[in-house]
């Protein structure tokens, strides 16, 4: 536990990591406290034609949309969808990618190598291209977006862990453990995994930001959660019909995406400096 406390202390000292953590916490809190902090929780899903396309001000902090729903409240509830998608998709990618990378890197059996070749295929094309194909096949829903993103993101973790494990295998302390007759599974879990944890954590933070952008793009293309779910990408896509009159329509969801992605990116950069001494900003990158 002291390790976590130490990392937190270091985050507090690193300005960009701290800003990143604060931005992420704002969005996480917004998602948790959505019913409390939204001004019109009842007007997130319902139609109120009377209040259609009202500009920001007074009762409507960020204006209203084509259904007459309060955009601020929708964006706050949308944080739940965004974080759910990113957490589950990145979590699933971790659960698939890390064991595959560990196993393939350690055993060097042909099945492991074959799995790494499969991951090469996914890494050879942009995530969004294959995600579009999967989401279109499965139909638009939150579950399918999560599935599409998980299937296309795990190779990043597999590749990363694989490379780290291959490098670690010939370190003296690992060779010593092998010589002492420690069972292989214990070497991998107790000696290898903790040593690859840092790059995994950094990649997870950057991956959250990346996944949120891709999920929003899928939503924008009409492949995300179907209406009336308050999905940020789709809200921005809807606004196009009502420009330039309803200039406020896309403002809040766009800023929300910006804040959360920036938060995860800054946090990831900061964690890299803190956790990975090899990449410490000796040159202040």
């Amino acid at each position: 536990m002291s390790g976590i406390a130490q990392v937190l202390r270091q985050i507090a000292r690193d300005r960009s990591a701290l800003v990143g953590l604060v931005l992420v916490m704002i969005v996480v809190l917004a998602a948790i406290l959505a019913p409390v902090i939204s001004t019109h929780p009842e007007a997130v899903w319902d139609m109120n034609p009377v209040n259609r396309l009202k500009p920001p001000g007074g009762e409507w902090v960020m204006g209203t949309d084509r259904m007459g729903a309060d955009i601020y409240s929708r964006v706050v509830y949308g944080a739940r969808i965004t974080l759910l998608i990113a957490l589950v998709a990145v979590g699933a990618s971790l659960l698939i990618g890390v064991p595959i990378g560990l196993w393939a890197g350690w055993s060097e059996l042909w099945i492991g190598e074959a799995l790494m070749r499969v991951s090469d295929i996914f890494l050879a094309v942009p995530q969004i291209v294959l995600a579009i194909a999967i989401a279109q096949t499965l139909g638009p829903s939150i579950q399918n977006v999560i599935l599409a993103l998980s299937i296309t993101y795990w190779p990043w973790f597999a590749r990363l862990v694989y490379a780290e494990v291959r490098a670690l295998k010939h370190e003296t302390f690992i060779e010593a453990a092998i010589a002492l007759g420690v069972p292989q599974w214990r070497i991998v879990l107790q000696h290898v995994l903790p040593n690859v944890a840092s790059p995994i954590i950094v990649r997870t933070s950057i991956g959250m930001g990346f996944t949120i952008l891709t999920a929003a793009s899928l939503g924008f293309l009409g492949l995300g959660a179907p209406p009336p779910a308050p999905e940020w990408g789709r809200m921005i896509s809807e606004s196009r019909e009502f420009l330039p009159e309803a200039w406020w329509y896309a403002l809040a969801p766009g800023l929300a995406i910006f804040i959360v992605v920036m938060g995860f990116n800054l946090l990831g950069d900061g964690l890299r400096d803190i956790l990975d001494p090899r990449l410490r900003r000796s040159h202040d990158r």
Binding site: A124, V125, I132, Q136, G209, P253, G254, I257, N265
Partner: protein, 335 residues
């Protein structure tokens, strides 16, 4: 000879990856769905039409036969027929590819032309106000949703100020198609008015697309220049009195760029992917808009054709970049 060996090595990687990519797309489109024929026939198709299509496309045969057949089809350049345009998907995509490439190259030029000098300035004025401002811009550029930035730019520069056109590729008649790049065709035809119109239409989508790439170029140039500034040869040049500007912009930059060039190459693929989303906002008639329309119309063959096509182009672009990089940097690129 070394270059040839590298090209051979990259091709050896390229072919199995391409074969694998096609297998993945095949799996997505034929194995995952309960009834691929129903997807291909569209939402309004009758039971009989779906059955007829299944027999016609041989979707009732064993999967392995279908997969081999699919490879055969792709080798002939057959990506299926679009439900909506009723034309071969490959012909549709081929006709739209120049627009996407033109947009991608324009964004790349913007990112490189502005990104490299900004990166150098950021490095030489490290930790000054300029550097901090540029860092905010680069961090922000990587966090913004491109389609949202596109809307904001449209709102400000096209709808409000009216300086630039809202969408499309050109106003009035396009130049005679020769290369498919509208700017180049206008120059060849000697029509400066058309060139002006094409460039004005290109401006907003290209700038939008360039933003994340620009941020990346600034970051890598900055890091590369800072790395190189610490090398002994810079101290030597300083000592013998070569002007600082000459050292930085000529000798340091050239050394720093070799690592940046790899990144610039990788950017091309990222830009290509970004174009898919941005094109739809600007009604830019490239393969991205085509994919978007296909998604809206549930034009399944077109979406899958797009996936294979875009994936293939992306891989070919990376192959070309790798080889080009090996030629520029004789120390040998990434293996």
């Amino acid at each position: 000879m070394r270059i040839l060996a590298l090209i051979a090595k990259r091709l050896l990687w390229f072919v199995p990856t391409a074969v694998g990519l096609i297998a993945v797309v095949f799996f997505i489109s034929r194995v995952i769905p309960a009834d691929p024929a129903a997807l291909l026939a569209g939402e309004t198709a009758s039971r009989e039409a779906i059955d007829a299509l299944r027999t016609k496309l041989g979707l009732d045969r064993p999967l392995i036969v279908q997969l081999l057949d699919y490879y055969g089809q792709l080798l002939r350049g057959d990506l299926g027929t679009s439900l909506f345009t009723t034309r071969p998907v490959s012909a549709d995509l081929m006709a739209r590819l120049p627009a996407t490439i033109e947009l991608t190259l324009a964004a790349m030029i913007i990112a490189v032309v502005f990104g490299i000098p900004l990166g150098v300035v950021s490095a030489t004025r490290r930790n000054t106000l300029v550097d901090h401002m540029l860092r905010i811009v680069t961090v922000g550029g990587l966090a913004v949703a491109s389609f949202w930035l596109a809307l904001v730019l449209q709102l400000v520069f096209a709808m409000d100020l009216g300086w630039l056109p809202l969408q499309g590729r050109i106003s009035g008649f396009p130049p005679r198609p020769i290369t498919g790049f509208m700017t180049v065709d206008a120059v060849i035809s000697g029509r400066m008015d058309q060139l002006g119109s094409a460039l004005r239409h290109l401006a907003l989508p290209a700038i939008t697309l360039a933003v994340p790439a620009l941020a990346t170029v600034v970051r890598f140039t900055r890091a590369g220049v800072l790395d190189t500034l610490g090398k002994p040869f810079v101290d030597y040049q300083n000592a013998i009195g070569i002007p600082r500007a000459l050292i930085v912009w000529r000798y340091v930059l050239r050394n720093a760029l070799t690592s940046t060039i790899t990144q610039i190459g990788l950017l091309f693929g990222i830009l290509l992917a970004g174009a898919v989303v941005i094109e739809t906002v600007f009604q830019w008639p490239g393969i991205g808009t085509y994919a978007f329309e296909a998604i809206l119309q549930s034009d399944y063959a077109a979406v899958m054709g797009f996936t294979v096509y875009a994936g293939g182009i992306f891989m070919i672009a990376n192959l070309v970049v790798d080889v080009a990089h090996a030629m520029i940097d004789p120390r040998g690129g990434r293996a």
